[in-house]
Symmetry: C2
């Protein structure tokens, strides 16, 4: 089972992810980012690619889609906080969005 990130690792990961628009979620040990696409097909196409990785890694996002926008929150429920899985999925989401 994934363990919560150690403070140093967590700080380094958050610094790196903040460079691509991820931010800590107020009141939760989670990170969030809003992805914006050209239209619904682009947004949902990206979600579909992410969904396959999420299932493969058995780590799923909380996400809200309104037309071309997808608001994502990542946290590891089992660990009640951020783990390496969240960092890995965040980076995959970024990579798949470019």
């Amino acid at each position: 089972m994934a363990e919560k990130l150690a403070p140093d690792t967590r700080a380094a990961a958050l610094t790196e992810l903040s460079g691509t628009g991820w931010a800590e979620t107020p009141g939760r040990d989670a990170i969030a980012k809003t992805f914006r696409f050209a239209n619904f097909v682009e947004a949902f196409g990206w979600m579909t690619r992410v969904a396959i990785w999420a299932e493969k890694w058995n780590h799923h996002p909380e996400w809200r889609n309104v037309y071309a926008t997808v608001e994502v929150t990542l946290s590891t429920h089992d660990a009640a906080g951020l783990t390496e899985l969240d960092v890995k999925l965040a980076k995959k989401m970024d990579a798949l969005s470019t």
Copy 2:
């Protein structure tokens, strides 16, 4: 462009849709329903089928997915309220979920 439903039509549609779990959204001229599935693959598979119809009809839901749950809100932004498109998409979502 879709027009807001006339009061009688709207009432009849809401009565019918309430039978499958749709309810008016407080403070908005919109309807909402939470769909629950067996797991993420079932939930996202359903979203994918809905997404294709939504794009085909150029009428897209607001939806939030967390693992096996999808919270949906339907409203027609151009009409600032419920239209026939919302009723049609709600029924299609129900049909695709069974």
